[in-house]
Amino acid sequence: MSDGLMEDLYREIILDHYRQPRNRHAIESPSCSADGSNPLCGDQVTVSVVVDGDRITEVGFSGQGCSISQASASMMTEYVRGRTVAEARAGVDAFQQMMTTGTVAGLEGFDDIDALVGVAKFPARVKCASLAWKTLEQALNEGVVPVTTPVTTDERNSNG
């Protein structure tokens, strides 16, 4: 593999998200959350979101894994925060599309994600990059009502 390919994979913006992840924190009373993992390489991520009406007002992640999986998780949270659930789902689809076709997603208003386009050339790493996005989708599929720990109406209101 040439150095050029290396730079395709480890763009500076990716390393920046890896070193200084955004929204890497727990969410007190999430509307929904999900765990995702790639046991084969040891990537693991938990994604939690707070949904108010149809809008994602808070999002956080935790976990451990390679630079690609963690940077992608950081970017994902920056992308979906403040967007509607429908927009977030569209983002997940656009990201998967980018991983399969190797052409930039052109996700409106967030260029950082395009830096991950190089991952498509490394089949072994696609699942690392996709992990946080799939986990977000899984969280949203669970529905916006918390499924694990029941939350009282008061708590939900105070977080809503």
Partner: protein, 425 residues
């Protein structure tokens, strides 16, 4: 200089000449990118193949190819003879008392499953205990979990100590009157730990238990003598010891193999078939249903010739030296921590490590740009990862063709990795 082979005076020993050995492996001349030579350090996953083995595969298909045991024509007779000669080489290599005790399978996994099905399902009953260890490869865990769920046997694990060796005091308590089978690896593929079979086998034998050894990592790298070990079954794979993929071995004591039912039914494994019933062929045919992997079995015989000519003592000595060098060299690389025993006498040529602040996957990716091929992940040994409390490790593993220069290349490349990810969490 030639040294007599203690087992077979017919084999001429060659001196351990590293430069000559490396010339036998064409892939070692490969570049991963222009000017970036391959440094292959993923031998625990699979080994590279010498020209002799590659040539034998071609020669068989070119000159002899026919189905075996079925024809009176010349090619079929020749193919059968070559196939059976390979069986004899395998038998001699592990000092099996009888050539017929060697069964050709696809790999270690199939060999272990063969015993789980054809022996354990027949002879083990609810409440009987199977003892394995915490450092097994998944292929020596999952078949027993399946058997536990199907038959109600009890599965017990000999725990691992923090240094990657087995807790022998615990083993003395776990192996008891209910133990019917001890199925244990001789060498951990995740940590390199050499398991003290000389301690564990007598404990199991004292309870009248059957002993199966997963030799996937030991047979390619250490002298193995099934009679001296006093074991009952041994499983290993050709592809990890210079041979082709698609060939594995199950060795078992004839009395046990005789008493077992077949694994798969079909052609070649029967004596007679009527519309109502069939009778089984003798061992080993009973366990080799259908057309076997003839060409790869024969080429595996050539791989064994290669190892035999060097002598497994010399192979082990080379690997011990290179492992000792690597343990010391890697310990000097800033940020590296090594898992498993630090004494090269207690481990094979497998070194699992982590690099502070860099996930194993990223280590492997950057090393690849330097031509250095290592393995990252859980190495099909998730219980070991759990015990070490890590999601994954990076693993370098050596074979008879690796050099100290290659270890140096690994070490300097790891320093590059740290530089590249410098400032990472």
């Amino acid at each position: 200089m030639t040294i007599a082979n203690p087992r077979d005076t017919g084999v001429q020993r060659l001196p351990f000449d590293l430069a000559r050995i490396r010339r036998d492996f064409p892939i070692l001349k490969r570049e991963i990118a222009p000017g970036v030579p391959l440094v292959y350090l993923d031998n625990a996953a699979t080994s590279q193949k010498p020209v002799q083995v590659i040539a034998e595969l071609t020669r068989f298909y070119r000159d002899h190819n026919a189905n075996i045991h079925r024809g009176v024509h010349t090619l079929s007779v020749e193919s059968t003879e070559l196939y059976e000669a390979a069986r004899a080489k395998v038998a001699r290599f592990i000092n099996a008392p009888k050539t017929e005790e060697i069964i050709f399978t696809r790999n270690t996994t199939e060999s272990l499953n063969l015993v789980a099905h054809a022996w354990a399902r027949k002879f083990l009953h609810e409440g009987d205990e199977v003892v394995i260890s915490e450092i097994e490869h998944h292929s020596n865990i999952v078949p027993w979990q399946m058997l536990r769920d199907a038959r109600g046997i009890v599965l017990r694990y000999i725990p691992m100590l923090p240094d990657g060796t087995l807790d022998l005091d615990a083993a003395r308590k776990i192996i008891g009157p209910r133990t019917k089978l001890l199925s244990i690896t001789a060498m951990s593929n995740a940590l390199g730990t050499i398991v003290p079979l000389e301690v564990l086998v007598p404990l199991a034998k004292a309870q009248g238990a059957v002993v199966m050894v997963d030799g996937a990592q030991s047979v390619p790298h250490l002298p193995v003598d099934v009679q001296a070990l006093d074991i009952d079954f041994l499983a290993f794979s050709a592809h990890k010891m210079l041979g082709p993929t698609g060939i594995g071995i199950l060795w078992g004591k004839m009395a046990l193999l005789d008493a077992m039912d077949p694994f798969l039914g079909g052609g070649d494994m029967i004596l007679t078939v009527s519309m109502e019933r069939s009778t089984w062929a003798d061992v080993p045919a009973k366990f080799e249903a259908g057309t076997p992997n003839v060409a790869d079995a024969i080429a595996f015989g050539t791989a064994i010739d290669y190892l035999d000519a060097l002598g497994m003592d010399a192979v082990r000595e080379h690997e011990r030296d290179i492992t000792d060098y690597a343990l010391r060299r890697l310990a000097d690389v800033p940020g590296v921590s090594i898992f498993g025993p630090m004494d090269a006498d207690l481990r094979g040529g497998v070194i699992s490590f982590e690099l502070e602040g860099v996930h194993p996957h990223d280590i492997g990716q950057v090393l690849d740009t330097h031509g250095v091929a290592i393995r990252t992940g859980h190495h099909c040994a998730q219980p070991v990862m759990l015990a070490l409390n890590v999601p994954a490790t990076a693993r370098a593993s050596f074979y008879l063709y690796n050099t100290t220069d290659e270890v140096d290349k690994l070490a300097t490349s790891l320093e590059e990795v740290t530089r590249f990810f410098g400032g990472a969490r």
